[in-house]
Symmetry: C2
Subunit: 245 residues, 2 copies
Amino acid sequence: MLKRIKKDHFEPAYAQLAAILRREIAEGVYPPGEKIPSESIISKEYGISLMTVRQAIGLLTVEGLLERVQGTGTFVKALELTESRFDLGSLRKIFKDPERTQVKILQLCLVRADEETASSLALPSGARVILLRRLLLRDERPIIFHSGYIRYEPTRPVVEAELNLGPFCDFFNGYGGGTAKKGELSLVPELLNEEESGLLGRPVGAPVFRIEYVVYDFDDAPFGCGWFTVLPESMKMKARLGLWQ
Amino acid sequence: MLKRIKKDHFEPAYAQLAAILRREIAEGVYPPGEKIPSESIISKEYGISLMTVRQAIGLLTVEGLLERVQGTGTFVKALELTESRFDLGSLRKIFKDPERTQVKILQLCLVRADEETASSLALPSGARVILLRRLLLRDERPIIFHSGYIRYEPTRPVVEAELNLGPFCDFFNGYGGGTAKKGELSLVPELLNEEESGLLGRPVGAPVFRIEYVVYDFDDAPFGCGWFTVLPESMKMKARLGLWQ
DNA sequence: AAGTGGTCTAGACCACTAT
DNA sequence: TAGTGGTCTAGACCACTTT
């Protein structure tokens, strides 16, 4: 039998078993909707411990290939559009490559919060807040526009250099050393307005992504909100479903 | 000590420990970047097995709260914008609620594939493919437009009723009983064109999501491609970061 | 060398589901 | 009642990192 787990292999046993199961699913040995053999049967078949089998099946479960049903069995999942997950991985590379990226501060000042901002930051309308507007450039070309409001705390002055030097999204970790506890984001399709059009060098009305956010401190009080306007070609939102090996 | 694991609790031990660690992180006992106690120390401290501790820490790791570094320790992760994950969960409810949703077939016919489609489906240019265009309505209102091409297989005739009756995204599972092995999706911001504007009842140029896809069969050959145009209010793309308990 | 996480075992009992 | 997955134990050895 080819499907055997080798001890002393560079791959751990659970990964080997996961690969075998992945292959068997790909080959149609277990078609979508079908039940795969029980954990104890697999454990005996391959001569490995039950916990190791569970680790392999757990892996394929988070990959979306299998589904466990207590008391019944483990089943092969069919492809479902709604299982797709998109992440901001393409931004990660940009944020972590200081060589080619540059941040330009457009505005950093104290302003009176408008109705909506005050409400987002749980402040009385007209309270003073910090307005921060920046442009992120990649290879000299603007690709992201950021506009954000931050709670103004007189005890913690904002140092421009601090915001300038830190990573682009660093106010997520507060300014002056504070840290965010949680954040809420929303992704929407948007059209470039006139101002953004000028800043990002694209025609008015061009389609872009907008990421709106609110971040909260460790007392669950909102301390920052705003949005990022991102040119779609610099933020590839891709997802994969099923068996890609 | 309050932080103690109760056996015979309705919550399993690993979930109790995860909740305790979550709380301690929230309270700043372990600030972002800090190391939490080692697994063996936790194991002794709470009188539970090492495997159970690992299960709890594994849970918080996939939640994005902790990060394991082999040979060094487990650390509290700071909030990072780029860790955000958006899913199509809001579509799930729509697809699985046949009471309020309705599918209207606009077109189902054999056409000659254009250059791009032929290339996506790995067919010679001008090959015959099935064109399927549909509208999904929710409470009588159109919210998603789907336009897709499917490989034409003379041996497997397409039955309109089949496509009409199945769930909206069911061609993912092929037609005539075939099944998809994998799929690749891409999310982009787009503007409504004139045709879509008429179908979806929104002005031309309104911002929408577009989900482009290619699905592959079990021989890794592409058998379907196309896109969904989705009104943004019916597809809320939300993500949460950090500690929400 | 000591400490950390990564893997693994050979059992055990439980909750749930089907028959 | 039998079979399934869910949880848990008390060990073990390994790979890796730091000192």
